[in-house]
């Protein structure tokens, strides 16, 4: 660059310099992408025989699928400035509800699934409604929902089945039709892939498009960045937030259904503890914990990193206990990278907050 003495003529070219490479490094997902590449190479060196193969890829994608679906939905919610700690347990609740309706009440799979969808959407709506009406942190509101559902999952299941598992769901009418849609196994080059993975990738692209290319996407960034500013320019903040809570609940339903059709049963403990994994996927993908910034594709890459860790630890013959240690290290690395982004914006954010405090004082 130092040797290039001839400057571009048009002033607009100030930005174009650096071109593709710089454009790549400016992307939100770049940290997650580099992290994924490093981890893939690491396991490729440690356990190359299974890892560098189509089977390795199919295993990673299958592990990443359900985390990815949830991670992408949770990323949208986090960009919108909120958390949903009930997202994990929702996968269990919807699965149990569908299972009980199908097995105990003898319903067809489709109406049973539809009932669970309505229930999930309702819980999502209630989560969102409570958060926007009470202005309490969503962390607390959805933590309450988490415990309520966690208790109900065990309690109701025990009352209905005398156990904490609903089995034999595959005897329900149309079970295999549902499975064909949600979790059909198919071979590519000798490795097994599932339609659930296709759903995940498709939903990631839809979410990315909504975020980047639609009005609603712009509103998601706005309500997460500064809900008051968003409201001032006419963004219906409350409706956007409620829609986002309904999205994570609906994603929980979808994952719940995928588990039911794969396992043919539903366990009361399903999904508990996973809510943090979704959040970590979103954070690794570039979402700020403070909202207003992030990426759906990044969250999907975050899920792939998890998939790689789960599969890689097995392939390398390590004790799977180390999975959570790995999880913690990834989270820490991601947060440190994201912190840099936040700092750059901090100056103006605090100026805006100061202006608002003065305004509030005046109103008081």
């Amino acid at each position: 660059m130092a040797t290039n003495t001839s400057m571009p003529v048009q002033s607009d070219e100030r930005v174009a310099r650096g071109g593709l490479i710089r454009g790549f490094f400016r992307r939100v997902e770049v940290g997650a992408f580099i992290g994924a590449a490093v981890i893939w190479v690491m396991f490729a060196v440690i356990a190359p025989e299974n890892w560098v193969s189509i089977t390795g890829i199919s295993r990673i994608l299958d592990e990443a699928t359900t985390l990815g679906i949830m991670g992408v939905a949770v990323a949208l919610l986090m960009i919108g400035g909120e958390f949903d700690l009930s997202a994990g347990v929702m996968t269990g609740t919807t699965g149990l509800l569908t299972g009980m309706l199908a097995v105990r009440a003898g319903w067809d799979m489709f109406p049973a699934m539809l009932a669970a969808l309505v229930f999930a959407a309702l819980i999502g709506f209630l989560n969102g409604w409570m958060v926007v009406k009470t202005r309490l942190p969503s962390f607390i509101v959805t933590l309450a929902t988490f415990f309520i559902l966690r208790g109900a999952n065990v309690g109701v299941t025990r009352i209905v089945t005398d156990r904490i598992v609903v089995e034999g769901i595959d005897h329900a009418a149309n079970f295999y039709t549902a499975r064909l849609f949600l979790d059909h196994a198919f071979d590519v080059l000798g490795a097994t892939f599932y339609t659930s993975t296709v759903w995940w990738l498709a939903l990631t692209l839809v979410a990315a498009r909504i975020l980047q290319r639609t009005r609603f996407g712009n509103w998601i960034f706005a309500v997460g960045g500064d809900p008051q500013a968003a409201r001032n320019v006419g963004v219906p903040s409350d409706r956007v937030k409620i829609a986002l809570f309904m999205t994570t609940a609906t994603a929980g339903w979808l994952v719940g259904m995928m588990n039911v059709v794969r396992l043919r049963s539903a366990v009361a403990s399903q999904g508990i503890g996973e809510e943090f994994v979704y959040i970590i996927c979103a954070v690794i993908g570039g979402c700020l914990l403070t909202g207003g910034f992030g990426s759906a594709i990044g969250a999907a890459i975050g899920a792939i990193i998890f998939g790689m860790a789960r599969v890689g630890i097995v392939f390398a013959g390590w004790d799977t206990d180390w999975f959570y240690t790995f999880l913690g290290i990834m989270l820490l690395a991601a947060v440190l990278v994201n912190d840099n982004t936040r700092r750059r914006a901090e100056a103006m954010r605090s100026a805006a907050a100061k202006a608002r405090t003065e305004e509030d004082k005046e109103n008081g």
Binding site: N218, G234, M348, E362
Partner: protein, 273 residues
């Protein structure tokens, strides 16, 4: 003279038992600047939030272009042509300029499932509109948080003007700015007036208000002290009304005390009170 562009009569707003605004009336004409002056706590912010549809008034009448209106949301106000530029500018620091500019009124293109935010149009328009205000932005993708205070203010004003504002409400646009940057903002206000917009300019600085103002309303403790045209009010009289003669006397005596080096503790006591 035609009817005022915007007029409110006897606006009252209660927050619980607190009377934030007590029977305040105001008018704005086309091609005029109405200055809304007053100290902190005078009710300026409450009045503009009513004007811009954020708060419903407890009592009072609201006329826009001669018709009585009831605003249910800021969105409705903006759709009618009442645009508000808040002190915090309602800009998102982490968001690129073009996304900020069109926030809440995103241009869309394509049909049905392919309907999307027209980003090409947005980026081009942002460059053009800011160039009209004398700001050459290098990159519409630049996050707003990385820009200077004056630049951000001008983005907010350019945004309001672009979206067909008939009335432009500016909440303390010069408060956080230095002399030079404030002068630029005052020039934008004069420009907006020249384009036949009605401007409501909120400030507590008489030196900023008097040069650009055509009409002055001074608020104090929720009440309007008066509603003057420029011909009826000198700058000195304005300052007198704003601060109040007796308060000026108290201030003068306080200042005398401060100038005595041995009176430091007394000063601390007075400022805390």
């Amino acid at each position: 003279m035609a009817e005022p562009l915007l007029e409110v009569r006897n606006m009252t707003k209660l927050f619980g038992s607190v009377i934030a605004l007590n029977r305040v009336s105001a008018t704005v004409n086309r091609g005029e600047v109405t200055c809304l002056l007053g100290d902190n706590g005078a009710g300026k912010s409450t009045l503009i939030k009513i004007l811009s549809g954020v708060y419903p008034p407890t009592e009072g009448e609201y006329y826009f272009e001669g018709h009585a209106v009831t605003l249910r949301s800021p969105r409705e106000a903006r759709a009618m042509g009442i645009a508000t530029v808040y002190q915090d500018l309602s800009l998102l620091p982490l968001m690129p300029i073009w996304r900020n500019f069109f926030l809440g009124a995103e241009p869309e293109t394509g049909s049905l499932f392919l309907r999307h935010f027209d980003d090409k149009f947005a980026k081009l328009t942002v460059r053009e509109e800011l160039l009209k205000m004398g700001i050459d932005i290098r990159d519409p993708d630049q996050p707003v948080g990385t820009m200077s205070g004056g630049e951000r203010q001008s983005i907010a004003i350019a945004r309001a003007v672009y979206f067909g504002a008939k009335v432009l409400i500016l909440d303390e646009p010069t408060a956080a700015l230095g002399v030079k940057q404030a002068a630029i903002v005052l020039r934008y206000i004069a420009q907006a007036r020249a384009r036949n917009l009605g401007v409501i300019f909120i400030t507590h600085n008489p030196q900023h208000a008097y040069p650009v103002g055509d009409r002055f309303i001074i608020l104090k403790r929720g009440r309007a002290l008066g509603n003057w045209t420029k011909a009826e009010l000198s700058q000195e009289a304005m300052v007198q009304h704003m601060s109040g003669a007796e308060e000026l006397e108290i201030l003068t005596s306080e200042l005398q005390q401060i100038s005595r080096p041995d009176a430091e503790s007394q000063v601390a006591a007075t400022t805390n009170g």
